[in-house]
Symmetry: C2
Subunit: 466 residues, 2 copies
Amino acid sequence: MGIQVVKNKAMEIAMKIKKLGQDDPRRIVHSIKVGVALTLVSLFYYWKPLYDGFGASGIWAVMTVVVIFEFTVGGTLSKGLNRGLGTLLAGSLGVGVNYLANLSGQKGEPFVLGIFVFLIAASATFSRFFPGIKARYDYGVLIFILTFSLVSISGYRIDEFLTLAHQRLSTILVGGAICIMISILVCPVWAGETLHNSVTSNINKLADYLEGFGGEYFYCCEDGEHGVATEKGKSFVEGYKAVLNSKSMEDSMANFARWEPKHGKFRFRHPWKHYLKIGSLTRQCAYQIEALNRHLCPQLQTQDPSQLRRMIEVPCKTLSSESGKALKALATGMKAMTNPSSSSQVHLNAAKSAMNDLKDSLKLGTAQTTNLLEIIPDATVASILIEIVKSVEDLSEAVVELSLKAHFKSIEATVSPEKPQLLHKGTINPLVEAEDEQPHVISVRGTEDGDLTEKKGSSGTTSLPT
Amino acid sequence: MGIQVVKNKAMEIAMKIKKLGQDDPRRIVHSIKVGVALTLVSLFYYWKPLYDGFGASGIWAVMTVVVIFEFTVGGTLSKGLNRGLGTLLAGSLGVGVNYLANLSGQKGEPFVLGIFVFLIAASATFSRFFPGIKARYDYGVLIFILTFSLVSISGYRIDEFLTLAHQRLSTILVGGAICIMISILVCPVWAGETLHNSVTSNINKLADYLEGFGGEYFYCCEDGEHGVATEKGKSFVEGYKAVLNSKSMEDSMANFARWEPKHGKFRFRHPWKHYLKIGSLTRQCAYQIEALNRHLCPQLQTQDPSQLRRMIEVPCKTLSSESGKALKALATGMKAMTNPSSSSQVHLNAAKSAMNDLKDSLKLGTAQTTNLLEIIPDATVASILIEIVKSVEDLSEAVVELSLKAHFKSIEATVSPEKPQLLHKGTINPLVEAEDEQPHVISVRGTEDGDLTEKKGSSGTTSLPT
């Protein structure tokens, strides 16, 4: 019995390990890379000539590798540069303070050194509370305090702090160089790319929700689709929740990304900060979806649909699915780094015209209304959907701004914009009121699945280290 | 001119430093504590007997102090224990591996060691991707890799790894002990207390919003209060936004808090995890307030209020302010660690009865309605407010659950429950439909300010390290 329990536990852990690796194979690669870097750095000890050159301070190279090798290239670069800079600055300052302390004679030296250590450690520690320093140079300041203490304290004892400082710097350089080279050359994980993929995949999650919402909310009206709607429902309903708490991950990725050199389609000074703006607007939209999701209660939908619900069904479905498609077009364009304005604009315009239809329906809907309380859920859903169009528009503007800042290539001339599809045949929106409306053709097609799967393929989500 | 610019810049930085210290004086104290700890540890070098005892490995004590001294006691304890445990485990494993490598002869030794370093570093690095390990033992695993590499690699060279391991462990113990003692004895910053204060202050922020919302939303109906409403508005409107992104801070504080011993009113095994549940429900409520806040557009309120708005004004205001008061009672009770059920329940019941009034108003409101589109903002606000009551109820249940788990003292017998106050004289709610309703007396008072200020005083918000 006891053995069986152990066996089950072991199987469980093995399954967890397998899942962790399958979720993101880059984790396995990263672990191997760290192992290789550490084994390489061991050469300082195993290979005699290297050992003779660097002496016992080769342990600093080992330490550097263990401490600065991060999952992303940007993380490794940021920690490596912070460590190098912190060590250099603190080393020079330590030498200067040692010189000053020497002037104060045998008796005075420990006191002078002690006072300096106290003052510099306390003020450097305080500087770590500045948000700007905390976000980017926290590790550098830590290393600064560490090195300064070590150099000034050991300087008093060993009397060869210059050698110590020199050895430490050069071993850190070697360790750091090994880390950075392996990190960049062997299957690199770029923080910038991760941020880019994460932001686009978050927009995609919202798009999935909006595309599915109409069918799910109104499913009781079409009993034939019931099964389909709930099966689809499971996959899209939970997706957007991950967006709500995405801020801290995006912030740290953006901080790492700014250290990264040109990679793939990203320049050295890619406007990473702008991704934070897009991320924030995405969360704004997710908060609205959270409000919308509260109205997806199955128990409410078993009752007979109100007249209002029947009236707003078509414009609500169109609005929701076109908003979703506009977001999907934005995400697809962003992911491919092409200017998404034309294709998403068409869907956005369709969503806006559906919004006007919805407003018209609401204007007409009054006559038949007998009880305001009964129609309030539907009215609220309509109101939130109307606001979501505004949110999608803001997001669209932010993505267009990014595409200008980051010089996304324009595909307007080569690829024809996707045509909007209306969910229900025969629904034609004749009135277009929005001021920035462009003339466009509305094609009425029956199916939307082909188009959906095609777009889904190009918007693969990337899971992130937690 | 150039000097003036430098002067201004210096003044600006000085102001920032002053503000940072004033916002949270614990930051200054923490910086001084780090300075003192480092100066103390320097004794290993300055004071000859200590130096003779520990040798050059006294630098490990310095390193330990710099690296593990965190802002909160829990953070310091967590890092210290992680460092100690990681070193101990890796040290023993390193000794074992060295013994094995020795068996394989002069030539084979580096290969065996290299393979072990690779395997253990790679698998330990992979283990850091497990969310559970990442949250609590990340630093311990890092130190494990570091120490194992150092012990096994240096063991090959120096042939006295036992001394090295012993020296390192004892200096880490000394450095860690100094940190932990200073951290606990001199103006301690407890992660648990910080979490407790932060969660209660977040509930308070939502309460402020809800208490202010009614007056702000309906201010156009009472021109006399206009100035008051907007002035008050500035302070409460922004407060709740900080709640939206509070998750990562709460998670890390809860992780630190579990290491902390009994302090103040908190036991060693205080149910810190339950605070995360309350925090999550608070964010749920904040998302709803975010939806509500979207309807506080001043330009919409300049137009003539609709009939519906006049009808729902009183119940909406009562609902919102009573929900706010219920939250405030919860926060006050939680902060004082007394059972908040009685006082908050009274307000919650008042909010529920206002909700029923609101529903009645909505039922009656139909006859006069001429255009559904015009009344949709008001209907949405009413709908969100109705949901907020449910949210406040959930939050109230979670706080009651916490008060049971954490054995909050009950004050029901000694302190009479606060009486609910209705904003408008003459509004009496005769119908109570909620199933868990208790009989209670509704006193109709004209002013609410005296009561408000009294409660505000006891719910001081604590700013947190960023």
